[in-house]
């Protein structure tokens, strides 16, 4: 199970190179280009984090340790063949739901929300759902007809909606929307008719009204603040205003590493977590942010390439979803920090300070690597 047959086959063909580096990567089911992209992002991220955290090496070491843990998680997950993952998917999903219910009843409260579960270590079950939901959706569609029929769609909708609602109730709107997105992406990749998508879009308008009524006050405030940040420059609009000032004042090449006045003089809130992109923009300018975005694009592109290369429905849907959800993370965070969408509390993947999300992300990329190294080299 942990020794995929194709790797053995490749090894037998290229014994001379067994001991070289790419051979080693292959033996470990690691995709070199993907790993390179991820490490570059992480390295860049650590660089920015050091400055954003007020040149604190404690925070940097902390983040590096988390990164190490996340990389190990990736390595472990990469050893799990897609078939194995697929078989265990319903169980993982069910376990995730149980944990979410436990969070709502027994979870730890932090920052006004009940998101954490303490079973020896504190963690957020919603993080596990970030992978479990697309896995479950892909699992459901794996041996059903593609594009999915309407009845199947309804079932998938329930599979996505239940965890989404449970997480939204914590409340954690950002994560719940991302999880919903990861499931919906699977459906879209599975060939949901364009007409249906358009129809849903039309329905979304009244849906937005309903959603508005269900939103918490702070969530409504975030939307209102986005529409007019200057209405409350010292209150809710402060983050967006300061973030825009930071990015805008960075110009083409930035103020230089550790010289961002917005970040270092504490004008920019959440500068080492959700708003770290603004620190990057301030200190490295347009050149810096485009470099990071290019790295993200490379990783996403590689992920989509792996999805296309995948041989079975589950693998390709899951690989596609993981890659595109990663894009959604990047988009939501950068759009939020640049004031395009409301502040929803989504970290910049692999760069923002924080543990669990990094492990989840890397585990996701581990799945991608597993899928890639387990693809069947069939003649096209």
């Amino acid at each position: 199970m942990f020794r995929p047959s194709d790797t053995q086959r490749l090894l037998s063909h290229r014994t001379i190179r067994v001991r070289n580096f790419s051979g080693l990567l292959r033996r470990l089911n690691i995709d070199g280009p993907l790993l390179s992209g991820l490490l570059l992002i992480c390295a860049f991220g650590l660089l920015v984090l050091y400055s954003a955290a007020g040149e604190s090496s404690i925070l940097l070491i902390n983040q590096a340790v988390r990164l190490g843990v996340a990389l190990i998680a990736m390595l472990v997950v990469a050893q799990l063949p897609p078939d194995f993952l697929r078989r265990w998917t319903p169980w993982a999903y069910a376990a995730g739901l149980v944990l979410l219910i436990l969070v709502l009843t027994k979870g730890d409260v932090g920052q006004g929300a009940r998101r954490w579960l303490n079973i020896g270590i504190r963690f957020q079950p919603s993080e596990a759902m970030k992978l479990a939901v697309p896995m479950m959706t892909a699992w459901f569609l794996h041996d059903r007809q593609i594009p999915p029929k309407f009845g199947h769609l309804a079932a998938i909708a329930v599979l996505i909606a239940v965890p989404t609602i449970l997480i939204a109730k914590q409340p954690d709107l950002g994560t719940s929307l991302l999880i919903a997105a990861s499931g919906i992406i699977v459906i879209l990749l599975a060939g949901l008719s364009i007409r249906f998508i358009v129809g849903l879009g039309v329905l979304a308008v009244p849906g937005a009204f309903v959603l508005w009524n269900f939103m918490q006050d702070y969530q409504k405030q975030r939307v209102l603040t986005l529409l007019n940040p200057d209405s409350d420059p010292l209150g809710a609009g402060y983050n967006i205003i300061q973030s825009k000032i930071a990015i805008g004042s960075g110009g083409l090449f930035g103020k230089g590493w550790t010289n961002g006045s917005q970040a270092h003089l504490e004008f920019l809130p959440e500068r080492h977590t959700d708003f770290i992109f603004a620190v990057l923009g301030e200190e490295f300018g347009l050149f810096g942010v485009l470099s990071l975005l290019a790295l993200y694009m490379f990783v996403i592109g590689r992920g989509l390439y792996i999805a296309i290369q995948a041989q079975d429905t589950y693998s390709r849907l899951l690989a596609g979803s993981i890659s595109l959800t990663f894009l959604v993370y990047v988009f939501v965070n950068t759009a939020m920090v640049t004031g395009l969408i409301p502040v929803v509390g989504v970290p910049l993947p692999l760069v923002s300070f924080g543990g669990t999300s990094m492990v989840t992300l890397m585990a996701g990329f581990g799945i991608l690597m597993s899928i890639h190294s387990n693809r069947k080299l069939l003649p096209h």
């Binding site: 879209l188 990749l189 060939g191 000032i245 930071a246 990015i247 010289n259 347009l286 942010v289 894009l327």
Partner: protein
């Protein structure tokens, strides 16, 4: 779960999936394209705007208060200066338990227990890194005491600052005035840009009137501050290099007074703490040489700040130490106006130099039984104008007043500057009263009171009744007598000095005109009579002037206290003391080349020649350099 499920078409599924991935990639590009477009907008097109906002965020402009100009006397001795003093400050964010800290500070008597609630409020209200001043000026003992205990009070420390200091205490309290903490009214009145960072402003005297010159202009310093307004140390050069240049504060101008420290001391000491005032001026220029009001107070109390109790003590003191008697006190001038009335009578022909009146001790108006008494009960006998001045015969002037008439009296006394402000360069002086028919008509509402009575003319001739004058007015008037009619605006400030260039701009004498009594013969006679007051064989103040090494002229005055404040605080003896006449004396010297004119008033001093004249003499002696001679 078999891959070979019959209903699945793997090739078409793969094609469909690739199509969707391509579609997703296009959408991804569009999404990231939007973000990139936004970044280009922020970082390229709006860069300038955000760069300025970022600059505005971090750069705080802090005002640097100017150093207040110094005040010197006419010989360059310091009258008002700025001294570093230590103040006790508490930085709220560095103190764990503010209540406890304040209680312990009160226990070692550094602060008043009553002030604790106020300090707690101040500590909680402001920015936590901004110090709260607990005490403005620490004594050396307090500093030493606190220095030992400092480790017990983290977050509490003493800091130096400049405090206005008046080295001569109360000596110049009324002339130079004092500075006090800016209040709301000051804030509205003053230019906020010039006063940014200033804590005190001139309130009274020269400090108040020359505030504009003394204050200077605030400078500006650019500080790098973080989001909470705290200053960031200049360790990071990148953050500092684009700062705008600072603007240094422009120190206030120095002021040279015409007042003389020694003369001021002599005048003040001569009053011996009695309620009264002395004004001495140079009749040739109007320069005020001494301006003393007694009792006085310590102006340093205002500069440092005093407790409500201390202030109330000053305010409620029945001797009114805060009251500037020299410019704000109005008194019946008494006989001090007689020389002026004599000139008026000569000029208008109401009398002549040879006319004699037999003084029998009182005067009666025709058809009226009322006796207007002379101060000398038995009368002066036959007196002419010269005698009437030198011996201060009231009856002569009673009689003369009927011929002169109140409106002529008003006209000529007004020419001497009585009844209107002298225009001295410190604000707030009173104008006094020189009554006339017109004045009575406009100042009384009752028809009976609006009428002018002959009796009122009679008592006006000896400076009683409605007539009121300030000591400053009397000094100016006797100066005009000394100058044979030339009037100069009295002023306390002699020169204003630019502290940077050292350039001194002198205040030129301001000639206000002449009283237009042209006959020198009249002047000779009246002034000779005034000389005889002090140095003649029968002069009323000959005890003071006889034997002096220089020739002088003067005129005493004794003013009845018309109304008495029925203050419950006084016992019978004291009430009696306060019913006594005010003692006045005006004089000038040297006779032939007048250099100093003096007016003295001693409230309830009883005798002008006996109490006030020696004070005037002492001042003249000092100024003319005869203090040692006369002391023997």
């Amino acid at each position: 779960m078999s891959l070979l499920s019959p209903i699945k078409d793997h090739h078409s599924e793969r094609r469909l999936f690739i199509g969707r991935v391509i579609l997703a990639s296009i959408i991804s590009f569009i999404m990231l394209g939007v973000v990139v477009a936004r970044l280009v907008q922020l970082q390229v097109f709006d860069h300038q705007l955000f760069a300025e906002k970022s600059q505005g965020n971090r750069v705080r402009i802090e005002a640097v208060p100017p150093i207040r100009g110094l005040v010197f006397d006419r010989k360059g001795r310091v009258i008002a200066e700025n001294l570093p003093a230590y103040q006790l400050e508490l930085i709220p964010e560095q103190v764990d338990d503010i209540d406890d800290t304040l209680r312990r500070l009160a226990a070692i008597k550094l602060i008043e227990p009553n002030d604790i609630p106020r300090f707690i409020e101040l500590s909680r209200g402001g920015q936590q890194f901004k110090p709260v001043t607990l005490k403005f000026r620490l004594t050396d003992e307090e500093i030493a005491n606190f220095a030992i205990q400092r480790p017990r009070f983290p977050g509490v420390d003493f800091q130096p600052r400049l405090v206005r200091h008046y080295p001569h205490g109360g000596l110049f309290a009324h002339a130079v005035g004092y500075v006090g903490a800016l209040n709301t009214a000051d804030m509205q009145r003053l230019d906020s840009a010039r006063y940014a960072g200033t804590s005190h402003t001139g309130k009274t005297g020269v400090e108040g009137s020359f505030e504009d010159s003394l204050h200077g202009d605030a400078g500006f310093r650019h500080l790098i501050t973080n989001a909470r307004g705290r200053q960031v140390p200049a360790s990071n050069r990148e953050l500092l290099d684009s700062l705008p240049t600072d603007e240094a504060a422009n120190p206030g101008s120095n002021i040279y007074l015409s007042l003389d420290l020694d003369l001021q001391k002599v005048a003040f000491n001569a009053l011996e703490g009695r309620r009264g005032a002395v004004v001495a001026l140079d009749p040739k220029t109007g320069e005020v040489l001494a301006l003393v009001s007694s009792p006085t107070f310590d102006p340093n109390l205002f500069a440092v700040g005093m407790s409500t109790g201390e202030f109330r003590g000053l305010q409620d003191n029945p001797d009114r130490p805060l009251f500037n008697r020299a410019t704000h006190g109005t008194y019946p001038p008494g006989s001090t106006i007689k020389p002026m009335l004599a000139l008026a009578a000569l000029e208008t022909g109401a009398t002549n130099l040879t006319r004699k009146t037999v003084c029998i001790g009182y005067f009666q108006l025709e058809g009226n039984e009322h006796r207007y008494r002379d101060w000398k009960r038995e009368g002066h006998g036959p007196v002419d104008l010269h005698d009437a001045i030198s011996q201060s015969c009231d009856v002569y002037f009673y009689e003369l007043s009927i011929d002169l008439g109140i409106d002529n009296m008003h006209e000529y006394l007004t020419r001497f500057g009585l009844g209107s402000q002298t225009g001295v360069d410190v604000s707030g002086e009173r104008s006094g009263v020189v009554p006339s028919r017109e004045w009575k008509r406009t100042n009384f509402s009752d028809r009976d009171n609006q009428r002018w009575y002959h009796g009122e003319t009679v008592i006006a001739s000896i400076g009683q009744g409605f007539m009121l004058a300030t000591p400053l007015q009397l000094a100016a008037a006797v100066g005009t007598l000394a100058m044979r009619g030339d009037r100069y605006r009295p002023h306390l400030v002699a020169a204003i000095e630019d502290p940077l260039s050292g350039e001194r701009q002198a205040i030129e004498p301001d000639w206000l005109g002449n009283v237009a009594i042209g006959n020198e013969f009249y002047w000779d006679n009246v002034l000779e009579a005034m000389n005889d007051v002090m140095q003649g064989p029968r002069g009323s103040a000959r005890a003071v002037g006889t034997g002096a090494p220089y020739k002088m002229a003067g005129k005493s005055g004794t003013a009845q206290v018309v109304s008495i404040a029925q203050d419950a605080e006084y016992d019978e003896d004291e009430l009696e003391e306060r019913q006594r006449d005010h003692a006045l004396f005006v004089s000038f010297a040297p006779f032939d080349d007048p250099r100093i004119a003096v007016a003295v008033i001693v409230e309830n001093g009883s005798s002008g020649s006996g109490v006030a004249a020696p004070i005037a003499k002492a001042v003249m002696d000092e100024y003319l350099g005869y203090s040692h001679v006369s002391a023997e």
